[in-house]
């Protein structure tokens, strides 16, 4: 709870700084707050702070590990935003305040123990994002992104509420522990409860940009300011996956899969299990194939985000929460590489004004560190050892195999291959020799240093996977 208080207060402070004309204080305030939040997660306070508000919030291992990764990635995003936003922009500190409010909502989303908290967390996280998506007010695409995100997000929230209501109607309680007991007594077969769970999962899948709720993602990713795209594709996804894990694990259903052969469908399976399976498979297929045609980098990364959403749903389907560490490892590796990609992309766009992937052509000759970092990120996405993405993929495939989700795992591998085609084509483009020998992109040295820090994190996480496990345990 300390984390939430720190983040919320820092948001208010940032807004106040803006009101009093010191908007340059916004960024230091939020970065300090994130560092304090990390400390608050790791340094144990005296006393038992695990439950709050009459068991509406529960701070356990899953919550701590997910929120620490989210805060860590947010620090990276704030560093990016320092170079992204021009200094004289209006409402600068308000933008930071909105980010931090969204982060605090994400924090609630991974710590909920009461269905109303699930709703609150989702809303607190999403509403600032709608505003931020449209924050580039002069840009038509940004306005489109904000409007689309807001409208579709509100629909999703409606479904979330309806689902929560149905679950309450079936079980008679909002508290997760009591719902767990209801389920143990056979509540899983109650149709109203299943319907409620299906709707709740549908809403959460929307936030995750999984098929068939993905239609907002490419336009919103493309139109929003790059900093917001980085935030949505990393932190928001982590939060939503954390929420899904909590929902499944706390309800503690052991989901037994008998594969996807149509002739053996057992009617004991709930509809939301099939929703998740189909969403996972379809996201992987759609995300990898649709990315083939993309020419604009942010849309390309949106489709790879859809692919990753499908990929990360595979261990979620295993039904137990022991795999949250593996999922988190995958998301952390994906998050760091993603933020690095967006960082480099934002800088290149600022230099060349060209936002298509052609600006990446021959990048490694124009600016070595940016080119190498970009290649490392793309290789991490492909899953080449010993980078961070490889261990994440390995972990998820292991979980998939041990939970007997073999058809889904094969789908994951085949679509990974298509994804590999996408990423390696881009790597080839980056490494190709260019005809214009004298054009180089000069990047501020401190920014280059940050790019190299990010790249070494990607490599380091890959070389020392144990280190990560120790951090989040």
């Amino acid at each position: 709870m300390n984390v939430f208080i720190i983040l919320a207060v820092s948001g208010i402070l940032a807004m106040m700084a803006g009101v009093h004309g010191r908007k340059s204080l916004g960024l230091p305030v939020v970065i300090t707050a994130c560092l304090l939040a990390l400390a608050a997660i790791y340094i144990p306070w005296p006393g038992d702070y695990s439950e709050y508000l009459h068991q509406m919030l529960m701070f356990d291992k899953v919550s701590d590990s997910f929120s620490s990764i989210m805060v860590f990635l947010s620090i990276g995003i704030f560093v990016l935003s320092y170079y992204y936003y021009p200094a004289g922009i209006q409402h600068l500190s308000d933008l930071y305040a909105l980010f931090v409010f969204s982060l605090s909502g994400a924090f609630l989303l991974v710590s909920f123990h009461h269905l109303v908290m699930l709703f609150l967390g989702a809303e607190i996280m999403s509403i600032p994002l709608y505003i931020l998506a449209a924050s580039n007010r002069r840009n038509l695409l940004s306005n489109e992104a904000g409007l689309k995100y807001y409208l579709m997000g509100s629909f999703a929230t409606c479904f979330l509420l309806l689902g929560i209501t149905l679950m309450y109607g079936a079980s008679g309680t909002y508290n997760i522990t009591e719902i767990h007991e209801f389920v143990q007594r056979g509540g899983i077969d109650v149709p109203m409860f299943s319907a409620g769970m299906t709707l709740v999962f549908g809403a959460l899948l929307f936030k995750l940009s999984a098929v068939p709720f993905h239609f907002w993602a490419p336009d919103v990713y493309e139109g929003s300011p790059t900093v917001l795209t980085a935030f949505v594709s990393t932190v928001v996804k982590i939060a939503v996956v954390g929420a899904i894990i909590r929902l499944i694990s706390v309800i503690n259903l052991s989901v037994v899969s008998s594969g996807l052969e149509i002739t053996q469908v057992s009617f004991d399976h709930t509809p939301w299990f099939w929703l998740l399976v189909l969403a996972s498979a379809a996201s992987m297929i759609f995300g990898s194939i649709a990315a083939l045609q993309q020419t604009e980098l942010k849309r390309f990364l949106a489709y790879t985000g859809i692919f990753n959403a499908g990929f990360v749903l595979v261990p979620v389907l295993s039904g137990s929460s022991d795999h949250s560490r593996i999922i988190l490892y995958y998301l952390a590796g994906y998050g760091i590489a993603s933020i690095l990609c967006f960082t480099i992309y934002a800088e290149i766009k600022k230099i060349t004004g060209d936002n298509s992937m052609n600006s990446l052509h021959g990048l490694i000759h124009k600016n070595k560190s940016a080119g190498i970092a970009m290649i490392l990120c793309l290789c991490s996405f492909t899953g080449i050892p010993p980078l961070a993405g490889f261990w994440g993929k390995f972990g998820i495939l292991s979980v998939g195999i041990s939970s007997q989700l073999l058809p889904l795992v094969i789908c994951a591998i085949v679509t990974s291959l298509i994804g590999a085609f996408n990423y390696i084509s881009l790597v080839i483009r980056i490494a190709s020799p260019t005809s214009e020998q004298d054009s180089t992109y000069s990047i501020h040295p401190v920014f280059t240093a940050w790019i190299l820090v990010g790249a070494s994190l990607v490599v380091g996480l890959g070389l020392f996977p144990e280190f990560f496990q120790q951090i989040v345990s």
């Binding site: 290789c379 050892p385 010993p386 261990w391 292991s398 041990s402 591998i413 490494a431 190709s432 020799p433």
Partner: protein, 489 residues
């Protein structure tokens, strides 16, 4: 520790050479390859050929998944390390002899590739093996992309994705194996001692063999090879054909036979037939080739198809013949590619039919080239013969028709190699060819290299028993275990 050094030395020197100017990086790479060979010989002196894993280096790496960083050496690995050292030495020498721009980076990539390939030879943990297998692709990818011939984007992409596809299915099999058994773990001891049911072995075999079949290559997964070999710069072609495909062949013996012996007896027959079919297919295509490097590529496929067939027979003569033939094939690759390098430097073009009569220009070269050709054809007393004989014997015991087909390929091999030699070296000089001024001279170093290759060919041809004795013990152990599993079935 010595096994770890075979990975660390090339890797470190490779990294450093990457950033250095051409002249220093050339010297540094030579230091690196000689140091690696030196340490490999040192390790071999203290290696007991009859025992299993020695020179072990094992630290826990990713405990949650049971992965240890476990490397070690037995005499099989040691032979492969020697071959890899030899190949890297010649690759570095080729690079120094040719005009490659940004030599430092190229040499760095060669050394990194050698490090990854060495890693796959010394790995005794299946996951570590997989990581090195994947890692070896990356330097090859960049070398092909940045230093290859024109319009090679498609070739590079095909090469990388084709190999990656096989590797991903192998990863599935590896992950599954790691979870089998009492504890999660990927060490060789655990995996080799899993006794799996035939059905499971079948699909594991398919997953592994598909990945290796792409690499070797075995018909029909070979389509990436000809384009890749001919678009690559010559040192990369040497690394690919000299040692990278040996990774796949070696892994068949080290990992696949212990894991899936029953399946190898069963559906492995199909792979044997496919290998031999590929040998004949490649030989026929090689007959029609007019380009030097493409001819080399198809002849390479013909030879390694035979090695793969030898391994699939699961007979002692087949396996030991396969290892001798692997040695011979590495020497042949270096020799024939050296010949191609020299021919290209003298102004010969890629088209064989346009050349002629070069023997008169440099008889020393002509004679040794002929020796290399003879060895490639498996003339007795040269390196190519003992292995071929053993493998054909094993194939005959397996099924006489298969050995008839394989024997056909020997004949076809003679045809295309001798035909190529004839068009290049014999006859009259083609006056339309513009040869360089002061052409056809060989420097002292080049003469030494040619003589060294000839010496190795004769050495392996006259004393193959040394190789057989060296690798005998691990092979016997592998075969006896697999035979007992087959009999118990």
């Amino acid at each position: 520790m010595l096994s770890l050094l075979s990975v660390i030395i090339p890797a470190t020197f490779g990294f450093i050479a990457f950033f250095m100017p051409p002249k220093q990086s050339g010297r540094l790479s030579l230091v690196s390859v000689w140091a690696t060979i030196g340490f490999t010989i040192l390790a071999g002196l203290s290696l007991d050929a009859t025992q299993s894993v020695q020179h072990v280096f094992r630290v826990p790496w990713f405990q949650a998944a049971g992965i240890d960083f476990y490397v070690g050496m037995d005499s099989l690995s040691h032979l492969m390390l020697l071959l890899s050292g030899f190949t890297a030495l010649f690759a570095v020498l080729f690079t120094r002899m040719s005009s490659v721009d940004q030599k430092g980076r190229f040499l760095g990539l060669i050394l990194l590739m050698q490090a990854a390939i060495n890693g796959s030879f010394v790995a005794f943990d299946l996951f570590v093996y997989y990581i090195f297998w994947e890692l070896s692709l990356i330097p090859a990818f960049f070398m092909l992309l940045l230093w290859g011939s024109e319009n090679n984007r498609k070739t590079t992409l095909l090469f990388f994705l084709y190999t990656l596809a096989g590797s991903l299915f192998m990863l599935l099999a590896i992950i599954w194996l790691g979870q089998e058994g009492q504890a999660a773990g990927f060490s060789f001891e655990k995996i080799a001692n899993l006794s799996l049911s035939p059905g499971v072995q079948n699909w594991l075999l398919i997953a592994f063999v598909v990945a290796f079949a792409i690499k070797i290559p075995i018909f029909p997964l070979h389509t990436w090879q000809a384009d890749t070999y001919s678009s690559s710069p010559l040192p990369l072609t040497l690394m690919l054909s000299g040692i990278m495909l040996k990774m796949a062949l070696f892994s068949l013996v080290r990992w696949v036979i212990p894991i899936a012996p029953i399946a190898l007896e069963g559906i492995g027959k199909v792979f044997l037939w496919l290998s031999v079919a590929g040998v004949v297919y490649a030989s026929v295509i090689a007959l029609q080739q007019n380009e030097l490097k493409r001819l080399f590529a198809w002849s390479s496929m013909a030879h390694v198809g035979l090695i793969a067939a030898g391994i699939f027979t699961l007979a002692p003569s087949g396996l030991s013949g396969a290892f001798i033939q692997m040695t011979a094939h590495t020497i042949h690759s270096a020799a024939l590619l050296f010949v191609i390098l020299l021919l290209m430097r003298w102004g010969a073009c890629n088209d064989i039919s346009a050349m002629g009569g070069l023997r008169r220009k440099n008889p020393f070269f002509g004679g040794l080239f002929l020796l290399f050709v003879f060895s490639s054809i498996a003339v007795p007393l040269t390196a190519g013969f003992p292995g071929e004989l053993s493998i054909l014997t094993a194939l005959f015991s397996w099924n006489p028709w298969v050995s008839f087909l394989a024997g056909l390929s020997v004949i076809l091999g003679a045809v295309y190699m001798l035909k190529a030699y004839q068009s290049i070296m014999l006859g009259s000089v083609n006056s339309a060819m513009m040869y360089n001024e002061n052409s056809f001279q060989l420097s002292f170093l080049e003469k030494i290299m040619l003589l060294f290759l000839a010496f190795l060919i004769l050495l392996v041809g006259l004393f193959p028993q040394w190789i057989i004795d060296w690798v005998n013990s691990p092979l016997q152990e592998i075969l006896s275990k697999s035979n007992s599993l087959i009999q118990n079935n």
